[in-house]
Amino acid sequence: MKRFVLEHDRKKRTAYAQKSSEGLWIHIDGRTRLIPKAEGGRKRASVVKSSNEILAPMPGKIIQVLKKKGDTVLIGEPIVVMEAMKMEYTLKAEIESKVEDIFVGESDQVALGQVLVKLEKPN
């Protein structure tokens, strides 16, 4: 981590930056950000998104499946609740579609990147 003391208009402030395999970490004006590497680089499994497949972003456990096969879903609608590191989070639909298949049930352990629910491909 490199510390920068920046000066502008006679006023100083401190900022930090560091490169990593994911991109550039910066901290300035009280906020930390990760600037991902430019497109074209290999993406991490956790950020790969296929809009008609709901993938596990982390290894964890399925808490609840909120939809059934054949249900219609709207953008942003919760589909699966899962738990990892003792925290729950909700996976939502990114497209308006229908549930084509569900591959997991409550209490199932799932691996990173595993397909949990498949939605019909939009036309």
Partner: protein, 491 residues
């Protein structure tokens, strides 16, 4: 009285560091009982001795009674501190310590057991005259009985596993229609997590506050309370921001609740540090549960009272009297703790793992940082995502909030994402600032997490500057050719 010479620590992360610091200041040697991957942690480096007790999975290490006992015995530890979480509230564990001649830094197995069974705890509290949430905790667990009791109590209501805790085995039923399915779900969770499907019912008091009292007892029958903490900011029953004193209590109420808390401790001959949790609804308070261990949020109490709860735990375990009398204890100023979770606040709190690449804690007067990792250590998905705590102390609540925001603004964690922005949004929220937040605060105002914003011009400029600078680290920084060089000079 027995002087502890070598203290085993059956825990990890920031609390292991906290216990090591207290013990070493007392001249006690420390033994960290750790899992295989936890060699790469701050506690491992700080402990005088270390014993690897098993694999990464908690069931093979931190939750395994035999491994912990054998580890402690292998280096002749004469006492053991369980920290919080893991085996800290397991009466079989404290009994096993006792049987193996290891002094357990905590209450007796009986006290842990009685408070651990929430139904037993309720009936003890009833006898001690501590107010209870209206509910049903009978032996008759037939569906018909439970249904009619549910109707009597009224909806919404909570269905809780008798052996539960930490939000597990807890379900809310809003109507009679959903009662049965929620009941079955609570039973299932209770059975899988705690080995018992016994449940009890409690009225669900919405928009209430979470207030808890720190109590302490010694082996001579002395008790004190160390005032309250408010922990109303919770997400799915997990605390995020805690403070002391609570902005919601007047002197009269504080005194009444403190008295109830001490009665609760006395009812099980409690020794050591314990916390009695209450739900506060206007001027009415009800017993929730007693946590028979050190609490994650204990630092806010230490900050306002100028005490060291871990050292007091050790003293009491050794058989000494409490280091304080009630009249000496008087809170000064205000303290807030923020729990730092490794998660992405802009993706609804999805956990973030990986190596910590950079770290800077913005130290200063009245700022305290509890953490269990150094740069290069990994935050892994095997353990809790709470990786650190930021605690501040100031004269008034307003000044304290201000200090807390500034401290978070100036502190840096690179490598894993943290909830810093989430914490600041909470601290800056008017409902938090005026002290009227309830346990539905997060659900009411932050249910969608945070919305990310585009990079500001300043950030974009800095990205450019940093990228060039980091590429040519060997070159003179003043010779950077950047379109921003004229306005920004790296001095």
């Amino acid at each position: 009285m027995k002087k502890i010479e070598r203290l085993a620590i059956a825990n990890r992360g920031e609390v292991a560091v906290r216990i090591i610091l207290a013990a070493q200041e007392l001249g006690i040697e420390t033994v960290l009982l750790h899992s295989e991957p936890d060699r790469a942690t701050r506690a491992f480096r700080m402990a005088d001795l270390t014993v690897c007790i098993g694999g990464a999975s908690s069931s093979e290490s931190y939750l395994n009674i035999d491994s912990n006992i054998n580890g402690a015995k292998s280096v002749g530890a004469d006492a053991l501190h369980p920290g919080f979480g893991f085996l800290s509230e397991n009466s079989d564990f404290s009994k096993a310590c006792e049987e193996n001649g290891i002094l357990f830094v905590g209450p007796s197995p009986e006290a842990i057991q009685k408070m651990g069974d929430k139904i037993t705890a309720r009936s003890l509290m009833e006898n001690a005259g501590v107010p209870l949430v209206p509910g049903y905790d009978g032996e008759d667990q037939k569906l018909e009985t439970l249904k009619s009791e549910a109707n009597r109590i009224g909806f919404p209501l909570m269905i809780k596993a008798a052996a539960g805790g930490g939000g597990r085995g807890l379900k809310v039923a809003r109507t009679l229609e959903e009662f049965e399915s929620q009941l079955n779900s609570a039973k299932r969770e209770g059975l899988s997590a705690f080995g018992s499907e016994k449940i009890f019912l409690e009225k669900y008091v919405e928009h209430s506050k979470h207030i808890e009292f720190q109590v302490f007892g010694d082996k001579k029958g002395n008790y004190v309370h160390l005032f309250e903490r408010e922990c109303s900011v919770q997400r799915r029953h997990q605390k995020i921001v805690e403070e002391s004193p609570s902005p919601s209590l007047n002197e009269e109420l504080r005194e009444k609740m403190a008295k109830s808390a001490i009665e609760a401790a006395r009812s099980v001959n409690y020794t050591g540090a314990g916390t009695v949790e209450f739900l506060l609804d206007g001027e009415n308070y009800y017993f929730l549960e007693m946590n028979t261990r050190l609490q994650v949020e204990h630092p806010v109490t230490e900050m306002v009272l100028g005490v060291d709860l871990v050292k007091a735990q050790i003293a009491v375990a050794e058989g000494r009297s409490l280091p304080w009398i009630q009249e000496d204890l008087f809170p000064r100023g205000h303290s807030i703790e923020c729990r730092v979770y490794a998660e992405d606040p802009f993706q609804n709190g999805i956990p973030s793992t990986g190596p910590v690449l950079g770290l800077h804690w913005a130290t200063g007067p009245g700022r305290r940082f509890e953490y269990g990792f150094d740069v290069g250590d990994k935050v892994s998905s095997f353990y809790d995502s709470m990786i650190a705590k930021v605690i501040v102390h100031s004269d008034t609540r307003d000044a304290c909030i201000q200090k807390c925001v500034k401290t978070l603004n100036d502190s840096v964690v690179f490598g894993v994402k943290t909830n810093f922005e989430y914490l600041k949004s909470i601290l800056n929220h008017p409902k938090f600032q005026d002290g009227t937040m309830t346990t539905s605060f997060i659900q009411d105002y932050f249910s969608e997490g945070l919305m990310d914003s585009d990079l500001s011009e300043e950030e974009l400029a800095f990205v450019e500057l940093a990228q060039k600078n980091l590429l040519s680290m060997t070159g003179s920084i003043h010779s950077i050719e950047s379109p921003f060089e004229k306005s920004w000079r790296n001095v």
